[in-house]
């Protein structure tokens, strides 16, 4: 298998639980903001201004620096019409691009299918985390899901079967037991495919940690660990083009200020270390990171936190990203709010389309289900 090092790569970071956009990119000169957020606000004298209207939350300082370097695109007002306030439903919509019916096919998995139509590389997409998000679910599309890179491998623990010959025999039998069988049902078929793919993927990916060295010292938290794993696999040149991981919970109904601060401190430092690490390996130029969350939070705070809202924001980060702000920050005027929430003015499927089209060079229409306005971030 030949791997072109410069194949475009996308890292998707999901902020699970609904990040409060108003306290992430802050309209710090807008009286409506402070009127609506008597308790859960970011004080004007602490923000990191972008211009006269908007500013970064101070806990995003590393991202602000990357923004100043021109490597961060901020997309305002993202969401969809009739945004449900349910995490479950909203996340499903983001994952499947199906706002009107319950979808089961993940948009990322459709991208993977287009990148590798015959499913030849089971490492085309690697998820880091526990369990597979629906965005990656599509029967017939192999996704390798790794919770712990160090211990990944099939039937590695049968006592007395540690000799190479014994293991080869076991793995061969495993492969035969997971071979396609007729008439055993959809779940058995799915398990068969999953088993065969795991067998293939495990063999290849175990080499990744062995080759990697770095001077970057990541922080000790989940997102830092997984982004470091992304670098380890990416720099091993295994043909992976899509990485997926998540961090949270951003569901800050209560006691928001310290929780939100801690989460963003972790995320922004991890991202900054991640890109430094990539640059150290000369591996940053063909990669972009997309960051999204299921919805924003209510404009008026509830005393110590914020309830479920609608419109939010998203980011695209990378050395070859045209940095800056895209779209319009939704109005906070009472008459412009939708049931007390920011009214989204930019369809999330346009955000996906931009990356699918401009970065990966694929046709976004069948993947996201239509034509949507793109942001010209490349």
């Amino acid at each position: 298998m030949t791997v072109t090092k410069k194949d475009p790569v996308v890292v998707i970071l999901q902020l699970t639980g609904a990040n409060d956009y108003l306290n992430t990119i802050i309209p710090y000169n807008n009286g409506e903001y402070y009127d609506n957020r008597p308790k859960v606000n970011i004080p004007q004298d602490t923000v990191l201004p972008i211009d006269d209207e908007l500013a970064f939350n101070p806990n995003l300082a590393p991202l602000k620096k990357m923004y100043d370097d021109g490597n961060v695109a901020i997309i305002h007002g993202i969401g969809f019409e009739n945004s449900p306030r349910s995490h479950f439903r909203a996340m499903d919509i983001w994952h499947t691009c199906e706002p009107d019916v319950v979808g089961t096919e993940g948009w990322v998995a459709k991208v993977v299918r287009d990148l590798d139509p015959k499913g030849e590389n089971v490492l085309k997409c690697v998820n880091f985390g526990q369990g597979l998000p629906r965005a990656l679910a599509l029967r017939g599309v192999p996704i390798t899901s790794v919770s712990n890179l160090e211990s990944y491998g099939v039937m590695s623990s049968v006592p007395g079967m540690t000799g190479e010959q014994d293991r080869a025999r076991l793995l061969d039998r495993f492969a035969r037991m997971y071979a396609p069988a007729i008439g055993t049902g959809a779940t058995m078929d799915y398990l068969g495919q999953t088993g065969r793919d795991a067998l293939k993927g495990a063999d290849i990916i175990k080499a990744a940690p062995e080759q990697y060295t770095s001077t970057i010292e990541y922080a000790d938290n989940g997102i830092a660990k997984y982004l470091r794993d992304v670098v380890r696999v990416h720099t091993a040149n295994l043909g992976t083009q899509i990485f997926y991981t998540a961090h949270g919970p951003f569901d800050t109904h209560f006691n928001q200020p310290p929780m939100h601060a801690r989460l963003w401190t972790e995320v922004s430092r991890a991202i900054s270390d991640f890109f430094d690490d990539l640059r150290e390996h000369d591996a940053a130029d063909n990669l972009v990171m997309m960051i999204f969350t299921e919805f924003g939070r209510r404009v008026r705070d509830n005393g110590t936190g914020t309830d479920h809202g609608a419109g939010g924001g998203a980011f695209i980060i990378g050395d070859n990203v045209k940095g800056g702000m895209y779209g319009t920050y939704p109005s906070l005027k009472p008459e412009d709010l939708n049931q007390g929430d920011l009214d989204p003015n930019y369809d999330f499927r346009g955000f996906y389309s931009s990356v699918i089209d401009q970065w990966l060079g694929l046709d976004p229409v069948p993947i996201v289900g239509g034509q949507f306005e793109q942001v010209q971030f490349v």
Binding site: H87, Q130, S145, S156, V158, G160, P249, H253, D307
Partner: protein, 467 residues
């Protein structure tokens, strides 16, 4: 003497109503009869509880365990060692339905208390369970009802009570949520005592009348100055509630259903079974024991062998029960808890209030690898007591020829009903390995190794992923 079919029926019942059982227990229960066994399971109070004195003497850190994975390990200990299997299985069912997570609660002993409440209420009335849930300190904190005030509602609990815990989406309006939330204002916890160096203090429910919105509310077509219990009284009488609960029970105990968020669009796979459970709910005024009795004695249950993908907790606990190496207090339960976590089910810390996706969605590439490695690693270890019993049984039966060997293993590990394609692979393995032979010590050792490999392959198969 119970025949093979009797044993298979009881094995099915014990996989679903508990976490499996040893061969000896299956034979004893089969001799007693199916319906009598169901009645035994429905009355856990007639069996001794876990002996906390023994547990905490050997593992003092478990009492009020400070955090994961110790609090999770304590629960796994109970799942493995309980003599009240249905009580523990229902506690897991309620945990998956009323998913409360330590990521936010950040008080592990308090979530452990919630699970203990599930045990107490497991087979009582659904109404009482919901009232206890509404007063449960971990739940109040998890869904922010302590921030739900007269004049400034926080609708998190009110919404999830209706959407996820009782009726399901599409059966109420946004206004119903607001007024339900108003009715639960003042339902909070006493001021928290800051944590001390050795642990945390338990929280207590507190009703603050001065913070309760006593005004008139309109909820699901009824009007009144409702308080929280009134809302629950109305909720449990809704046909949508009986149907939602019935479908959850079916999904957990009988056969995998589509994922919960699609339930208002996709009808149940077996509408008649759900109707029967709804009727049991209606006739008994929401009595959970009556529903479970109907379920376990029904044909739709008896005919649903291996129709569910095991959850990680089921896979881990049933496998160690079979291997027999985790009976009573001993080190290592932490690892079992972590194993559930790595397979995709971190007990006491579900990913969100929407809980885990179940069925085929338990399994992805990473989870499958872990499941296979865990189960094959234990079942292939012929030094473990449960595996020794299987070896001894095969030896006493004089099992030798390949086909006999494969079928005896499938029988002793289940009885399992495997697909013909998997069985034929096992048969090929047995044929390649040659007949079992016990004549000399050397022969016995070789035979033992073959058995270990066979059991490892059985548990590594896709068929084994089903319960």
């Amino acid at each position: 003497m119970p025949d093979k079919e009797d044993i298979a029926s009881i094995a099915h019942l014990m996989r679903r109503a508990g976490f499996g059982a040893s061969r000896q227990e299956l034979e004893e229960r089969a001799a007693k009869g199916y319906e009598a066994t169901v009645e035994d399971l429905l009355h856990p109070e007639e069996q001794p509880p876990i002996d906390d004195d023994i547990l905490y003497r050997f593992m003092p850190g478990y009492e009020g365990a400070l955090g994961p994975p110790i609090n999770q390990a304590e629960w796994v200990y109970r799942m493995v060692n309980t003599q009240r299997p249905l009580e523990e299985k229902l506690a897991l069912f309620w945990h998956q339905l009323f998913a409360t997570g330590n990521s936010k609660v950040d008080n592990p002993p308090e979530i452990t208390q919630q699970i203990a409440m599930f045990r107490r209420q497991a087979l009582g009335s659904f109404r009482d369970l919901l009232v206890e849930l509404a007063k449960n300190p971990a739940m109040i904190w998890w869904l922010d009802n302590n921030g739900n005030h007269n004049g400034a509602i926080n609708e998190n609990w009110g919404r999830e009570l209706l959407e996820l815990f009782s009726m399901g989406v599409g059966n109420y309006s946004e206004d119903d949520i607001k007024d339900a939330s108003r009715a639960f204002t003042g339902w909070t916890i006493e001021p928290k005592i800051p944590r001390n160096p050795l642990g945390r203090f338990y929280w207590n429910f507190e009703y603050r009348a001065e913070d309760h919105d006593d005004g008139e509310k309109s909820f699901l077509g009824q009007t009144g100055r409702f308080n929280g219990e009134d809302i629950i009284d109305i909720v449990v009488k809704q046909p949508a509630t009986a149907r939602f609960l019935a479908r959850h029970l079916y999904n957990f105990f009988v056969a995998d259903e589509p994922q919960v968020p699609s339930w208002n669009i996709n009808p149940p796979n077996d509408p008649d079974a759900v109707d029967q459970l709804v009727a049991a709910y209606d006739e008994s005024d929401g009595d959970l024991r009556s529903m479970m009795r109907l379920l376990f004695n029904s044909d739709f249950f008896k005919n649903a062998r291996f129709a569910r993908v095991k959850s990680p907790a089921e896979l881990v606990v049933s496998t160690v029960k079979m291997a027999g190496n985790y009976q009573g207090p001993r080190p290592g339960f932490n690892m079992l808890a972590m194993e559930c976590n790595w397979q995709g089910q971190e007990l006491l810390n579900p990913p969100s209030v929407e809980s885990w996706h179940t069925g085929g969605e338990w399994i992805d590439g990473g989870a499958l690898v872990r499941r296979v490695n865990f189960a094959a690693g234990l079942m292939g270890d012929t030094s473990l007591p449960g595996i020794r019993e299987i070896v001894e049984e095969l030896r006493q039966r004089g099992v030798s020829a390949p086909e006999e060997f494969v079928d005896a293993c499938l029988d002793l590990v289940g009885p399992l009903e495997f697909s013909e394609s998997t069985r034929s692979e096992l048969l090929d393995q047995a044929t390649e390995d040659g007949e079992l032979n016990w004549d000399t010590d050397e022969d016995a050792e070789k035979s033992e190794k073959k058995i270990g490999v066979m059991l490892a392959l059985i548990t590594a198969s896709r068929d084994f992923q089903f319960a």
